[in-house]
Symmetry: C2
Subunit: 298 residues, 2 copies
Amino acid sequence: MTRVLIPWPDLDVPAGLPVEVYDGRGDFPASAGDVEFYVLPYDTYPKPFELLGRLPSLRAVQSLSAGVDKVRPLLPPGVQLCNGQGLHDLSVAEHAMALIHASQRDLPRWIRQQAAGVWSREHTRSLADSRVLLIGYGGIGQAISRQLLAAEAVVTPVASSARPGVHGISELASLLPSADIVVLILPDTASTRGLLGAAGLALLPDDALVVNVGRGSAVDTDALVAEASSGRLRAALDVMDPEPLPGDHPLWTIPGVILTPHVAGGSASFYPRAKRLVEEQLRRFSAGEPLLHVVKDS
Amino acid sequence: MTRVLIPWPDLDVPAGLPVEVYDGRGDFPASAGDVEFYVLPYDTYPKPFELLGRLPSLRAVQSLSAGVDKVRPLLPPGVQLCNGQGLHDLSVAEHAMALIHASQRDLPRWIRQQAAGVWSREHTRSLADSRVLLIGYGGIGQAISRQLLAAEAVVTPVASSARPGVHGISELASLLPSADIVVLILPDTASTRGLLGAAGLALLPDDALVVNVGRGSAVDTDALVAEASSGRLRAALDVMDPEPLPGDHPLWTIPGVILTPHVAGGSASFYPRAKRLVEEQLRRFSAGEPLLHVVKDS
């Protein structure tokens, strides 16, 4: 008589609500027939998605990601979808800061030197005083902005349309020439695809750093490979196009390029925030109240 | 007739003040006999220090470091000494943040994976929500604190004596058990030497991170090697004892330990701040006004 599938055992569940743990790794739950509310396990794609078609009583799905492009087309008709907006903001912002610091302060050099047991000092770039163009100014962009300002960088935020204190994306060409660092935090949509191509990259000053923690499609990979291979630009990318990056792709080995395998959202700070949201949604479901973060109504 | 030695050519020098550039790398300046004010080149120890004894007209020395332990005993009698307090604060704070982010977000793992062309994802720790004990709460500690708070870490500052909002160093034993990350920003003095030894390290919770951007002597290296080798503690160190670290020292190869070769202070953000200070000191010297940051009077 399981009414709800939850991904973790250690949750506060309302008294009398029958739940079962399904973490996305083991067998499908036996009690699938009664499940009305399914909290999708995070980051175990694609197995939990297959279960969507095997839950005849399903009324609502809670995704723990902000982007729901993959789950949306798999939803049976009449099923409500809630997303995980905000759960990953801090984790992604923090990873962006890690990539920026690593690039500015030459961490790959020191890590190579450590592996070789070599003590050799060089002065590095700074983040302080750097002019940072933040392209994408939702929850993640704003969290990055707060951390950059605390580090005494000079921040210029850019969003899809201009508002007080925020530039519109249409002004991008006039902003790129004075950016020491450009950070992309954009979803994959028709208007963001290829946004930073050869022409935009060419407008950046020499030695500028391109950071991407949104979706890989926002940057023209071939154009970035050309500018980074020549040594004119640097890059630090958590997302790429294509992804996963094939083993023989030129990006892997370009000096001045740091790559991480799409791990910005998956850090410890996600869990307490996700658990708080799921507990609140269980309370609402149990009490018959409207769910939060509904992105598709039943 | 050179009255002042300056380390860089691109400075605003008061009209009529005879200056000569000595950057610490080439030959000693020929006009040493008339030099009254000597701005010591930064980070080119020991050559510029030898010059101190060859300047018979010397009245004042400007160091660009906050710590002047090495230069003080070399000063001829009657020579005033000014230090570079604050010039490196942002640079050091930023490097501390780089080390913390790199440790929490497993950057060495991703950099190794990149070198091997491997795409393999794992969730990591976060800095957000982490409880950070800042030991040393001068200009650098306060700059680190602002950046940690913006990253939504929980900061507990500790200084030599307690004041409102700041714990005293005598409370250290009661604070270590609840620190996920401990950051040391301490000078080398009789009271800081060996401050974090085997007993203190044993009080830290499992998996805690020890970060040192002050002086290596504050941590008992052998005790840290023991706790890190067992995998119980992690470390990220810009300063060590001994320094430079010998090529066969066990610290180099312990998993969970990141080492950088005392480079926290030497980044780009230092130069504009140092140049502004030197220009102000030249103006004061030329006008016969008292110099700033005097740490030893003539």
